[in-house]
């Protein structure tokens, strides 16, 4: 039982370390958007 719990905790810790490493390297699942939305104006609808 203890071995199972220890194994699970180790897995969670390993996943957190890997995720942290990716984040430090700037590799993120959320791709960044540079810019924004604006309402279409006259010249866009010609």
């Amino acid at each position: 039982m203890m071995r199972t719990i220890k194994g699970a905790l180790e897995s969670v810790l390993a996943a957190a370390v890997v995720a942290g490493a990716f984040r430090l390297l700037g590799i993120d699942r959320i791709k960044r958007q540079v810019g924004g939305w604006r309402r279409a104006k006259g010249s866009d609808l010609r």
């Binding site: 959320i30 791709k31 958007q33 540079v34 810019g35 604006r38 309402r39 279409a40 866009d44 609808l45």
Partner: protein, 331 residues
């Protein structure tokens, strides 16, 4: 001009209201199977509405027929309208039903009447945006549609089922079949919706867009979904669908050649899906009344309307197009 609106739900009732607010429609025949709902809706529509509830005995006495009944129930009404040689506007967003409707294409062409398929938020507005955006390019290579949100209960049910069924994307002269709920892609919608994880699903847009743009080599459609949506998609809906969803959005991403450079344009709209669908369907109906639909036969709005004129019409009704400016990283 007398128009028949079949279905008095979240979309149908609004279509009736919008048509009555203009001058081209003098009377509306509003049909629904639910007498209580009809009574409730007719109270706010005034005396220019004739309500009819099931069982429907008489033939439809109207010049244009709008079919806004739940997806999956529209084929008989469209068949009847084509037989009566009446222009039809269908709001269906079900892929299976769209395939059935397209089988009537030859009949519609033979009877020389326009049949508008998928006159709603997505498909519908997305088709017009794609048509408008495509005009900015010398050659369009890719069109990617994504959608967030649902309208009435029928729309919520279609969304639920679509995530567990096979999706069809058009890629390099072939329909590519993939399981619904796969292919996560982060899509940025106009504010306040923002970024949403979107997935493949059994959606209609690629079918209609491929019909309109046969030369485009890659056409996809995705829908926003939560983890719970995807996990429960193969099951019946665990709780009854909401009467109407909240704010939604559509996004149309177009890749192509402009001169010698490869460019991307992204257009979007934020609105409650049922409101936007009704606005699009009502305007398409007015086009049918005015004889402004470009072809006789069955097609989506990409082929049937002049996009700039249509978008101006939508703008007057409060549906505003947004354009993305900047760079983004495609996932």
């Amino acid at each position: 001009m007398r128009v028949a609106v079949l279905g008095a739900g979240a979309v149908g009732a609004r279509i009736a209201r919008q048509l009555l607010s203009g001058t081209s429609v003098t009377q509306i025949v509003l049909r629904d199977t639910d007498a209580d709902r009809l009574a409730q809706v007719s109270k706010s529509l005034g005396d220019r509405v004739i309500i009819e509830h099931a069982p429907f005995n008489s033939k439809l006495d109207a010049e244009v027929i709008v079919v806004a009944t739940p997806s999956g129930t529209q084929v008989p009404a469209v068949v009847e309208a084509i037989e009566q040689r009446r222009p039809v506007i269908s709001t269906s967003d079900s892929l299976a039903e769209m395939v059935e409707l397209l089988k009537l294409s030859e009949q519609a062409q033979k009877n020389n009447i326009p049949v508008v398929l998928g006159a709603g938020f997505a498909p519908g507005l997305t088709c017009v945006l794609a048509s408008h955006g495509a005009a900015w390019f010398d050659k369009v290579q890719e069109i990617h549609i994504s959608k967030v949100g649902t309208g009435g209960p029928s729309c919520a049910l279609v969304h639920h089922r679509a995530l567990s069924r096979i999706s069809y994307d058009w890629r390099h002269d072939n329909w590519v079949r993939r399981p619904g709920g796969s292919g996560r892609s982060l899509c940025w919608f106009p504010e306040p919706i923002g970024p949403q994880d979107c997935y493949r699903a059994a959606l209609v847009s690629p079918v209609l867009l491929h019909h309109a743009f046969p030369e485009v080599s890659w056409i996809t459609a995705r829908v926003s979904a939560s983890l719970r949506d995807r996990l429960t998609a193969p099951l019946p809906m665990l709780s009854p669908p909401h009467s109407e969803g909240g704010l939604g959005a559509v996004r149309v991403e177009i890749h192509g050649q402009r001169g010698t450079s490869h460019e991307v344009s992204v257009l979007g709209v934020v609105e409650r899906p049922a409101v936007a669908a009704a606005t699009v369907a009502a305007l398409a109906t007015e086009y049918a009344i005015a004889g402004k639909l470009k072809i006789r036969g069955m097609a989506g709005l990409s082929e049937l309307v002049e996009p700039i004129d249509f978008l101006h019409g939508l703008e007057k009704r409060g549906l505003n197009v947004q354009i993305f400016e900047g760079d983004y990283e495609k996932e």
